[in-house]
Amino acid sequence: MNLPRREFLKTSALAAATAFVAQRVGVSAALSPTASESDGIQWDKAPCRFCGTGCHVRVGVRDGKVVAIQGEQLAEVNKGLLCVKGYHVGLALYGKDRLTTPLLRKNGKLEPISWDEAIEVIADRIMAAPDKFAFYGSGQWTIPEGYAANKFMKAGLSNNHIDPNARLCMSSAVTGYLSVYGVDEPAGCYDDFDKCDVLILWGNNMAEMHPVLFSRFIDRRMRGEKVMLIDLTTRRTRTSDFADEVLLFKPHSDLAIANGIAHLLLKNGTYDKAFVEKHCNFRKDTSEPSLNGQAMSFEEYRAAMEHYTPEEVERISGVPAAKIRLLGELFGRRDLRITSTWCMGFNQHSRGTNINRLCHGIHLLSGHIGRPGDAPTSLTGQPSACGTAREVGTLCHFLPGGRLVAKAEDRADAEKLWNVPAGRINPKIGYHTVLLWEKFCTPSDKGGDIQTVWVQVTNPGQSLPNLHKLFRGKKNLADKFLIVSDVYPTATTELADLVLPSALWVEKNGMFGNSERRTQQWFKMVEPPGQARDDAWQTIAVARKLFERGHPGMKDKDGRFLFAVSDPSGKEVPVWDWEHYYNVNVDKILFEEYRTFTRYKHKDLAPYDEYVKARGLRWPVVQQADGSWRETKFRFSGFDDPYVRKGAEFQFYHSVTKDDRALIWFAPYEKATEEPDEEYPFWLCTGRVLEHWHTGTLTMRIPQLSGSVPHAYVEIHPEDAAERGIRSGDSVIVKTRRGELKLPAWINGRAKVPRGSLFIPFFDERLLVNEITLGDPDPISKEPDYKKCAATIRKAAPSEHGSVSRSEINSANG
């Protein structure tokens, strides 16, 4: 076939659409093209670059350029469907302002330099003060990239000052899982959305943030299935339009709602007594919040929940008592399958660990766990927040595979696997994200003991809270040095001293781990532009430079380079030299090394080549007697999890209490740190929109997306707006105790906030809402709260320009 190019693309598009329809109606049909086509488009699979759902796409490449995207019909996650971001993911590579050469700030101006010079500059900074160096990454790191960075820091520099942006989005989910089950990540998976009768979204605008998963659930209605959606939310969103019940609650009062459900289960005797007696213990916090707390009896737990009557919960939350009773009744029914999901609403919460614990607790108390459709499941916002941040352990207190920096036997185990001398890993936990940036932005003579930060794959200059304190403070500190590896100029590169151009997505090999424990792999498909190079290569090149300069940490126990790579004949390949980096598959080598860490917490991964064949596999992936590799959908459940004791229905085999039981926690409702008052009478919440991903670095460069939502705005209730003479589109000033921001108002737009609330999305680098957010952290997870602070709003005078006059407020802020 040698069709004209346009005809060929039309044929491909129609084939994809026809296959999608066939799948929807349950008819087998030939799948649209995946293999090489005579017309010159080469198709290959890759997970989407954006959120943590982990949809697979088919990437069409022609003449060295990505020219088409379709949903991967073979992928279980998305079954051929993508969201509006996913369909345009290929365009993320082709913004006009891609970074293509290393840039060094000289006399205040960024000027092009060679890669050799850039590597030397980084090595100089590290050699001068290795303990004052920090690495900051994200869940956008591929698994091998994150693994390389983690090994470089913890096994090489004996320095634990490495943390990912994931600290800002899911660390409260981690502490929730750890304190309830003794091990991180969900027991269930996306199959729960296909099986549940009731889906409860806890502060989770799933229709916009995880639209493919939302469609997967809602489409069941099209097939005639009776499913119920309950939207617990602080503002009406697109998700609410589909919900059977929209329960609007006052910010922070989700703690009371969860306790109200537990209260009713206990009062009505509808909790699952047999499950609780067999599989659960009870827990409460110590006087100071801690991960593992202290034991409490069932009777103490029952007494603590007495207070949370439906009427009291209504008083606290604003949700009618009758609706609290409805939730209690649903959880009390054994004939229903109930899945709860959450994302940033729970996690970016100054009591994030506690609300995670409480949600797991009501599922445990009611026995709605461990069967398909019965699950408490967190969703993640970044494509490999689970795979790289949590599993590889790029957080400052983790080692790979769930090991802990603070635990001597875990350090010893990691040192053995890394083949480094005993004692190489520093026993002191590093700085978590907020502390790391605070130390970086504090003068060295005033305790600011982080002098150099290397940022890869994220944009803290936009995503950190309270930016003036945690990021912009760097500006006037001459001895501080910021290195940024990225693909486009960002709010972070604006203050960078050294900028490194990185390869993006299918410009390099990669692996991600999504929200349902699914590890995914892809191959490089196109060349990166100019001199842009892989982030893992950058790390290895710096490590090699340090090795050559005699840094002892860059050698293993046998004196070999920490990242030594050999070809099949045993000859060392100089992968630190870009010309040779792709002579071997470095990703595969790093992954196979990392894989040896994963069995410790029963997060077993299969060999790399298994992921090449699959559209992802959910861990633990265990080899069968016939040599095949089997994934696990439902962890801790005897019918599916190979690590559950034979004959047991459930076994929480990493139990905190070492008795195979999960913990049901009590945590009280507490007020938010900063609540509206006379001076600042509004709640301010921040978040995302469907069309943009994270800080908009990629999606703002895709015209189809940036054209749909071109800038940030503030949502305000019509009556609040009318009282202030504000109309849609008017410029307004939103002010908090940390600063003020001028932006347009939007009334009854996409979402509807209740009276007394404001909402601003954070994707717009020109309108940085994080200049005014509070970011009060959870005491255990250290994750900041971006969802609540007090604010005021007024119409801007015609003469007012931009985001202005922060100085007097900031001096007060310290």
Partner: protein
């Protein structure tokens, strides 16, 4: 040049049939075999704007419940203009205001279905 794969979700009954007839006549569309209320199609347009306008028209057409996009082929470069932060007045910058605050239907991959009894 922009080529998209679409799936039209039609209403049941006459309205859906009328919409189907209209789609069949549309010069920019190549339709695949209809399966119940679902119609696969390839859409070929000159540029992004035309594609979006077409999508919005179809979305608003009587008898069309909603339109899923399942394939996107693109040959155009990005148009992103790196911005200076904190613009003078973002609401009047270029087409921004018109795009965000007009009454164009919002695009989604799903629409409300009947709630369970």
């Amino acid at each position: 040049m922009l080529v998209s794969g679409l799936v039209f979700n039609l209403s049941s009954g006459l309205a859906g049939d009328a919409a189907f007839a209209q789609l069949q006549r549309h010069p920019a569309l190549t339709l695949g075999p209809r399966a119940g209320n679902l119609v696969p199609a390839a859409l070929s347009t000159a540029d992004v704007k035309q594609s979006r306008d077409f999508h919005d028209q179809m979305q608003a057409m009587p008898g069309v419940e909603y339109v899923d996009v399942v394939y996107v082929g693109f040959e155009e470069d990005s148009e992103f203009e790196p911005s200076s932060r904190a613009p003078e007045d973002v609401t009047t910058a270029g087409s921004s205001k018109a795009t965000l605050f007009d009454s164009r239907p919002q695009r989604m991959t799903v629409q409300p279905a009947a709630l369970p009894n």
